[in-house]
């Protein structure tokens, strides 16, 4: 166990710190002068980049946390243990960033604590707000277990260890609920959101895609982390995760087709409009192509193959959320919106902070699996980390 804290400053990290600094200044300006001074939001487009990208996509991308928790801690598929902590960490930072974005986005930010006391329980946002707040707390506690491995405070560590099972269960139920209710938010846009995306089962599409996004996101993160730290990517783990994603993608595609048929809007997907083309790109490039790539062993067993397919899945979910927030709404709300330079700077700064926080924690806390065990486990072929190989 190392004694000191350290954070090496490379030029890339200095750039990230600068971007984060700019974002902090812009954020201060936004709090003082208001939303109109900083953003291009308007009455037609009350929600823009921060809600559409930072919140909806950020939370979806953090889906790696709950899908990995489900696979590792509920199904006890122990071979995925090496990636569990990294997934939890990314998810935790993702949620904190989303909460900060939300604070920036709400107009009357001085009232941000009020929803805890004044309940509009008939609102979808009520469910989203409570689940995200509680789940972030749960993740902080889950992370506390790791934190106290590094900062040795035995009594706290013991309490947390005992509470871990209920926390894990809550840590899957809460995100399942709010990932779906982020979709339910758009049920109110009936007659306005393009029927290719509006559906009474949009909550299913949101939670399902957040779940299958998880393994893909873990693959991308794992590869990036491996490259950054000169480690071996956990290719066997990635490859075996593709089965989860592939079957879930297939179910997603089938349910989508049934849903379109049931509502009688199937033909709208092929009417040549801008919306229909965007929808087809979403379905073919970001759902069908990854399914095919995952299905072919010679592609998914290669690092480039599994990473490319996973990248398509990740971009696909972002693309889907953008279609719901912007493409599908544009025709009915009219007006125009393109994020201002300040909105971009805040978003870029937020994601820079995410990367910096990830790097710092990974370098100073026990997050990534010990490497030598990996090699022995992989060479032994069967399960990657049986109890004995961990002890070895």
């Amino acid at each position: 166990m190392q004694k000191t804290w350290s954070f090496k400053l490379t030029p890339f990290r200095k750039l990230l710190i600068a971007l984060a600094g700019i974002a902090v200044v812009v954020a201060l300006a936004r709090f003082i002068f208001g939303l109109g001074a900083v953003t291009n939001l308007n009455d037609e487009w009350p929600w823009g980049l921060w809600i559409g990208f930072d919140l909806l996509c950020g939370i979806a991308l953090a889906g790696g946390g709950f899908s990995t928790a489900f696979i590792v801690h509920v199904l006890h598929k122990e071979k995925y243990l090496p990636i569990a902590r990294a997934a939890l960490l990314t998810s935790l930072i993702g949620y904190i960033i989303a909460l900060v974005s939300l604070l920036l986005d709400i107009g009357r930010w001085t009232n941000c604590w009020r929803p805890f006391f004044y309940w509009g329980y008939h609102s979808v946002l009520f469910e989203v707000f409570w689940c995200i707040s509680l789940y972030t707390t749960v993740q902080v506690l889950e992370f506390g277990d790791i934190f106290f491995e590094r900062i040795k405070i035995a009594p706290l560590k013991n309490i947390l260890s005992k509470a871990m099972t209920p926390l894990l269960i809550l840590g899957i139920v809460l995100p399942s609920l709010h990932q779906s209710s982020l979709g339910s938010l758009y049920i109110v846009t009936v007659d306005r959101l393009n029927p290719l995306w509006w559906s009474m089962i949009i909550p299913f599409f949101f939670v399902w895609s957040a779940f299958f996004l998880g393994p893909a996101m873990v693959t991308i993160e794992g590869t990036l982390a491996a490259r950054a730290y000169n480690r071996k990517p956990e290719l066997p783990v990635f490859e075996s995760l593709t089965k989860v994603t592939m079957w879930m993608l297939i179910v997603y595609l089938i349910v989508k087709i049934i849903d379109l048929n049931y509502r009688g809007v199937y033909s709208m997907a092929f009417n040549g409009s801008f919306e229909s083309n965007m929808f087809l790109v979403e379905m073919i490039l970001f759902v069908l192509v990854p399914i095919i790539m995952y299905a072919i062993p010679s592609i998914r067993k290669q690092l480039w193959g599994v990473v490319t397919a996973s990248a398509l899945v990740v971009i696909g979910v972002i693309f889907n959320r953008m279609n719901v927030v912007f493409t599908g709404m544009a025709k009915s709300v009219g007006g125009s919106y393109f994020p201002s330079i300040w909105e971009w700077l805040i978003t870029i700064g937020m994601w820079s902070i995410l990367v910096l926080a990830y790097l710092f924690v990974v370098e100073n806390f026990p997050i990534l699996a010990k490497e030598h065990e990996q090699e022995t486990a992989v060479s032994s072929g069967e399960s990657i980390s049986t109890g004995t190989s961990v002890k070895a």
Partner: protein, 276 residues
């Protein structure tokens, strides 16, 4: 008890007295206007203009007609904004008005999330974008006047009888009587069924879709759509939680014990070890 306003499009001459009355009574700041080719200015309601009169040039055969349409909050029977607000900052009063509690009742819980603006099917709630701590703004059905037995300001200002204020069921009967006794009217009372019905009702002699109304919309209220999904939340919470707990303990028996503390390592520690 629930009050209503009937708008008869055939009677409106586009004088905009209602707009002026609204601004005066509600103390809304005047905006500087410019000469423009757009005779429809200002076009859409916003934070300082709670009602606007839109102009439409309608061609019917060889006839050309001007039609003027006063727009404002429709005051839904089951308001989308009320159900969407997670701090319950909107309320439908027994008089029929849908009001915003922070400014109207001095109950400032609104966080400014603007979900009401996404939820409203008529695009009514507007935001004070230029303020540091903005409020949501919209027509309040002159709640202060109506409560005291007076008519809304716009109704008192209308010189042509376009606007009629009264009990909702009486006005609905009046609207039906007018459209049935005169063949020129479109046989529809807009606001009777749209999104579960609204307190403001419109009748017209030109098709509603030609004068800026969305037609063929759902007759189900928006809150009922949301509730159809939201009502499952407690069952999913308990059911999914139970399934996960059962799975967790079922699979745990077969799993081997791990010493997680031995499995993971900080990157810097690894590098330190390599250096040694």
């Amino acid at each position: 008890m629930s009050k209503s306003v009937l708008v008869d499009i055939t009677r409106c001459i586009g004088c905009r007295s209602c707009m002026v009355a609204c601004k005066t009574w509600n103390d809304l700041p005047a905006g500087k206007s410019e000469f423009t080719n757009n005779w429809d200015a200002p076009g859409k309601v916003d934070a300082d203009n709670w009602t606007v009169v839109n102009s439409f040039l309608i061609e019917q055969g060889d006839q050309v007609k001007w039609r003027f349409v006063k727009r404002q909050c429709m005051h839904c029977n089951e308001p989308a904004c009320e159900s969407a607000c997670f701090t319950h900052s909107f309320v439908k009063t027994k008089e029929g008005a849908v009001i915003y509690k922070p400014t109207e009742l001095n109950q400032d819980y609104c966080v400014g999330c603007r979900y009401c603006m996404i939820a409203c099917p008529f695009g009514v709630p507007s935001f004070q974008w230029d303020k540091a701590l903005p409020f949501v703004q919209k027509c309040r059905f002159c709640y202060d006047r109506v409560k005291e037995g007076m008519q809304p300001a716009c109704v008192t200002a209308c010189p042509t009888g376009t606007l009629t204020y009264g009990e909702k069921d009486k006005l609905l009967a009046e609207a039906r009587q007018r459209i049935n006794s005169n063949p020129n009217y479109i046989k529809q009372v807009y606001g009777e069924k749209e999104y579960g019905g609204t307190s403001w009702l419109y009748i017209s002699d030109v098709p509603f879709e030609q004068i800026g109304f969305k037609t063929n919309v759902s007759t189900k209220s928006i809150p009922s759509y949301t509730w159809d999904v939201l009502k499952w939340t407690p069952y999913i919470f308990v059911g999914w939680g139970a399934i996960l707990t059962a799975l967790h303990f079922y699979t745990k028996r077969r799993a081997e014990v791990h010493h997680e503390e031995e499995m993971y390592e900080a990157v810097n520690t690894i590098e330190d070890n390599k250096d040694e």
